[in-house]
Symmetry: C2
Subunit: 170 residues, 2 copies
DNA sequence: TTCAGCCTACCTACTATATGGTAGGCACTA
DNA sequence: TAGTGCCTACCATATAGTAGGTAGGCTGAA
């Protein structure tokens, strides 16, 4: 998986084990393919967030699970989440794809804002400033941490970047 | 400027106003071109860090200037720093380019670690945890913040992401 | 001083390959 | 039968790159 520009029908075809033209049949343009991939990714991620909130009662536990989701997505430094992969090449992206990116961001910020609000209330996250500001910082931190781990193909880069955030979880 | 894979001799030729083949003359392969670009970027950035440290006596002021450097590099959301642009496509990068990425990261972490150490001492940054952990988090935060601003082509995404960090500066 | 050689920085013209895509077809299942 | 999911064969264009060339400036030697 490269960035958007390095992402090709040929690579995907090889990965899935069908011919390139077959993918074209289902997704006539690269833009429609990217949109579908990103929408699927976003929906799955939303389900993951719901699941986290359901299974964990405290903000600290939710945040820890969220960090883990990002870390697991790294697959040892081989992958990053689709939003991180696609964002640098945003000028190549169609409007519907950009919309998906935006929705992903909004959904993440909303979820995290609630977590930080809860964290302030239940005391399971220490030193919570304004919850929305914390949410924006947290999302940026994780995307950047994925980037660093990806560049170095080394998960410990991610771990180093989130250590302070983790230490705030009670 | 796309990611690495979307970065082409043709684009650069147009930008610089000479023919593609002329660039090939100076940089025979894309890898050598990327390496030269990244090395130049890294050296300039190191000079910027030196300049900041020279002009600002307190850690808080240094950190603020550092944040500003990243924000200015966004050019209103049109650009991100080379390391952010190249990292997702890291599998396409040659070893010397990867080395430059690594050096950039190390140089940033080292500089930021000193800033956070100083911040602890001079009190100009509040609640400093382990300086090296703070440094790793800060770098990730800024790279992620650039990504978010780039995706939305909107500098306020960056501002939102770094607000908490800024509030810690005295 | 002049000239030849070298260097630098650009050029035109071309190439092999990969990309996103098109057109038409086959096979299987409900 | 119709629809779905795959296929082969092909195409136009963009990419990274190759080969050979020109022009101007500089330097050193005669």
């Amino acid at each position: 998986m490269h960035g958007y520009d390095g992402f090709s029908y040929a690579d995907l075809a090889q990965e899935v084990g069908i011919r390139k033209a077959s993918i074209h049949h289902h997704f006539p343009t690269k833009a429609s393919l990217a949109e579908a991939l990103l929408e699927r990714y976003r929906r799955r991620f939303a389900a993951t967030l719901d699941s986290i909130a359901t299974r964990h009662a405290t903000a600290g536990k939710r945040l820890r699970a969220y960090l883990k989701t990002y870390r697991d997505a790294l697959a040892g430094g081989e992958m990053v989440c689709l939003c991180v992969a696609f964002s640098p090449g945003r000028d190549s992206l169609s409007d519907p794809v950009l919309d998906e990116l935006k929705i992903f961001e909004e959904q993440s910020i909303a979820w995290l804002t609630e977590v930080f609000e809860l964290g302030r209330t239940d005391g399971s996250i220490s030193s919570v400033a304004a919850p929305q500001a914390e949410a924006a910082a947290c999302l940026a931190l994780l995307e950047g941490a994925q980037l660093l781990a990806r560049a170095g193909k080394n998960v410990s880069r991610f771990d180093a970047a989130v250590a302070v955030m983790k230490s705030r979880i009670q």
